[in-house]
């Protein structure tokens, strides 16, 4: 007997591996994090997990370090995303020019995005080492600075250096997405604007920017979520220091879970991060009117 499947059943069959992966690697870990946030769990004693109600959330919300980390996470995420968007759009416009060898530049631009974060962060630590780092050495040689800059040793400079690393590494992502969109904008629009006497700035403001609006909305949401959750760059570059000046929520959750062996508190911090991002993304999408045109159509 031959088994005959309807188109709908075949569709479900094709989706099955994805659904299983989704359940296994996304839904289950989130559900487990939520469960952990309501128990006291020391990973060295995994068999003892008493239910503690909202105690872990109370602990997190009453901890000054959580709010300090939250404030720093906003600074870190806000400036990183802002610079990535601005520099990313600028670079994409440059790479959109029909110049010889432009493809080589496009390829090279991906370099920071491809190199593993651990390699970049450790290299940056060397480059920005205030005593024996090449950056200070070159700046001193060129007479730009009179004494070494403490790149990672003062709170403001450490945060700036961390943001710089994040911008350097992830701007290529913005470039790729924006460039792809730029290449689909009909050239007729620009031709017509030129005929009407619109200058380069006007064409950018009235044609390019509106055409990029939707893609930028998506890029900003993604970059905000990914940067807000970023752990490894700050952990490897500054470990949240000096002091706790570059501590963000991801580091807070990690330290609570692993260094302090309070897995429940770490999970509660993670769940709060998830809620913050959900609310912020929802508001942002509403404010930018993303998808409104599609619905109107």
């Amino acid at each position: 007997m031959r088994l005959r499947l309807t188109d709908r059943q075949v569709g479900v069959l094709f989706m099955l591996p994805f659904l299983v992966a989704l359940l296994l690697f996304l839904v289950w870990p989130i559900a487990e994090a939520v469960r952990l946030s309501f128990v006291r769990y020391n990973p060295l004693r995994p068999e003892v997990q008493p239910f503690v109600g909202l105690d872990n959330y109370r602990f997190v919300l009453e901890d000054p370090l959580f709010w300090e980390s939250f404030h720093q996470a906003l600074i870190w995420t806000g400036w990183s995303t802002f610079f990535q968007a601005v520099i990313g759009v600028g670079l994409a416009l440059l790479l959109h020019q029909p110049l010889r060898g432009i493809n080589a530049f496009r390829g090279l631009l991906l370099f920071p995005y491809i190199v593993p974060t651990v390699v970049i962060a450790l290299n940056w630590r060397w480059l920005f080492n205030s005593e024996i780092g090449i950056v200070n050495h070159l700046l001193l040689q060129a007479g730009i600075i009179a004494e070494p800059v403490a790149w990672l040793s003062t709170p403001d400079m450490a945060m700036a250096s961390a943001i710089l690393l994040n911008v350097w590494k992830y701007t290529p992502f913005v470039v790729i997405v924006v460039l792809a969109r730029l290449q689909t904008i009909p050239t007729e629009l620009y031709d017509a604007a030129k005929v009407d006497g619109a200058g380069a700035l006007r064409r950018f403001r009235d044609i390019t920017l509106p055409q990029l609006a939707e893609v930028l909305a998506v890029v900003v949401v993604f970059r905000t979520i990914w940067t807000f959750n970023k752990f490894e760059e700050i952990f490897l570059l500054t470990r949240g220091g000096p002091g706790t000046s570059t501590y963000n929520l991801a580091l807070y959750a990690y330290d609570q879970s692993i260094a302090n062996l309070r897995m429940g508190v770490g999970a509660a911090a993670g769940v709060l991060m998830l809620l913050v991002l959900l609310v912020a993304s929802f508001l942002y999408i509403r404010l930018t009117g993303f998808g409104r045109e599609d619905r109107a159509a």
Binding site: P43, L44, R45, P46, N129, S130, E131, I132, P148, A150, L152, S153, T154, P155, A158, T238, R239, G240, G241, P242, G243, T244, S245, D255, I258, A259, N260, L261, R262
Partner: protein, 449 residues
């Protein structure tokens, strides 16, 4: 005649052959016992010794070294315990050994210590209990020791017209660091780690102990006593000393202190034997002028202490399939003078020998660094031992399982950072630290009851 095999038959036959051969494949495959040690060649050298035993006595068993920085042991152990696949053996500093022993996670090692006659062979000043004994049971086998000392460039001291560093008090250290800084512009007088990390914790604690301060008092049921005048005095002194250090010392950990010294950017530093080894490999002029001294004494108490990595082998108790073999293999290596000398020589002079016979072994004393720097090496290997203690055995007043947890949170170095980075008053920062330590004590009361 051609035989046609259907796809179903082919698949079925393959499955059957695989299933039937699985037991024999499993039997011939090596059993791997994982061995954790700190980064560096020494864990590899010891593991070679364990494998020598395995080849003779347990065919099919292989010990495999995995390098884990000490501050990653928590992460690694927690995940591996949860996955029910702990390592067979861990080389670890005593504070974490005490903590894991008090948690009930370790296998008793008294039998191994008897087999290797550890108590009789130990270098004067150490006892087996220092390495990881809890409530009378020995959970660690002595492996090596590393004491943090004052590393000095003799030429810098001479240029600045300073006295013999062996006689120094805190004030002499401060004056000396200032004098070196003046004589050698652009060079730090003294360097220590002040980053929020383990190295920062260790360096800070030495000063606290010299002033007579403690974190928890074992004699008073581990009461938190961090906010004493002695602790505040130590942090005030570190603040003064910071003026003679590189500004970036507030982000320094182990590696940066060594880099600073070996690159000739400091006249003195606080470190373990590794600075000498690195200088010998990479900077001979620095090596030639390098000497080690006991840490300067506190002018009031007259005390000087070294934060010491009192390092032993510990063995997770649960889900560890290699307990018997590992114990026998450890005894094999530790009863072999050749292996122990090889182990000591593997990262000279960082791996201080725990046994007298190893320290006096000709193979160790013939090492070129031993011959070139006999006074310093003997201080590193044995001379400082009476001054050796750590956060799990503060001032040698009693074993304390809370020290490792304090390091997990880097409370000692965080206090220093609050003073140096956030400009908080030392008294207020110490009070903050006191509250953190009190939290640790309260949350982990079960370990000390």
């Amino acid at each position: 005649m051609a035989t046609l095999i259907s796809r179903r038959t082919a698949l079925g036959s393959t499955l059957a052959v695989t299933a039937l051969s699985a037991p024999s494949i499993a039997q011939t495959r090596d059993r791997v016992a994982r061995v954790w040690g700190e980064p560096g060649p020494y864990v590899g050298v010891f593991t070679n010794g364990l494998n020598e035993w395995a080849q003779r006595n347990a065919p099919g068993l292989r010990f495999e070294a995995e390098q884990i920085p000490w501050d990653q042991v928590y992460t690694k152990l927690a995940t591996d315990l949860a996955a029910r696949r702990p390592p067979a053996l861990i080389s670890v500093e005593s504070p974490i050994a005490y903590q894991l022993a008090a948690e009930g996670l370790l296998e008793p090692m008294d039998e191994v210590n008897r087999n290797i006659r550890a108590a009789e062979r130990l270098v004067a000043g150490f006892t087996v209990d220092d390495f990881g004994t809890w409530k009378g049971t020995q959970y660690a086998v002595p492996l090596h020791h590393q004491g943090c000392l004052l590393v000095v460039q003799s030429d810098a001291v001479q240029e600045a017209g300073l006295s013999d560093p062996a006689t120094w008090t805190w004030q002499d250290l401060l004056n000396g660091a200032r004098a070196i800084q003046q004589k050698r512009p652009g060079t730090a007088g003294y360097t220590m780690a002040l980053g929020r990390n383990l190295c920062g914790d260790y360096h800070v604690q030495q000063f606290i102990w010299a002033a007579g301060g403690l974190t928890w008092d074992p004699a008073r049921n581990f009461e938190t006593v961090f906010n004493s005048p002695a602790t505040i005095e130590a942090y005030e002194f570190i603040k003064e000393l910071y003026a003679t250090m590189p500004r970036s010392a507030v982000e320094f950990s182990f590696l940066q202190v060594v880099d600073q010294h070996v690159a000739g950017r400091t006249g003195m530093s606080a470190y373990w034997g590794r600075t000498m080894g690195r200088a010998a490999d990479e900077a001979q002029p620095i090596f030639r002028n390098m000497e080690y001294y006991l840490n300067p004494r506190h002018p009031g108490t007259g005390q000087s202490w070294s934060w010491t990595d009192i390092n032993g082998w510990i063995m997770p108790r649960r889900n560890n399939a290699f307990i018997r073999e590992s114990k026998e293999a450890i005894a094999h290596v530790m009863n072999s003078p050749e292996w122990m000398a090889r182990y000591t020589n593997s990262l000279f002079p960082n791996v201080g020998p725990v046994f007298k016979d190893t320290a006096s072994d000709a193979a160790v004393q013939r090492h070129p660094m031993y011959e070139a720097k006999r006074r310093s090496v003997e201080l590193i290997f044995s001379g400082y031992v009476p001054k050796a203690c750590n956060s799990g055995h503060e001032l040698k007043r009693g074993i304390n399982p809370l020290g490792g947890i304090g390091h997990g949170r880097n409370v000692w170095s965080q206090v220093a950072q609050r003073i140096l980075v956030n400009n908080e008053a030392p008294r207020a920062a110490v009070e903050w630290g006191h509250r953190q330590f009190e939290d640790i004590r309260r949350e982990n009361r079960r370990l000390i009851e």
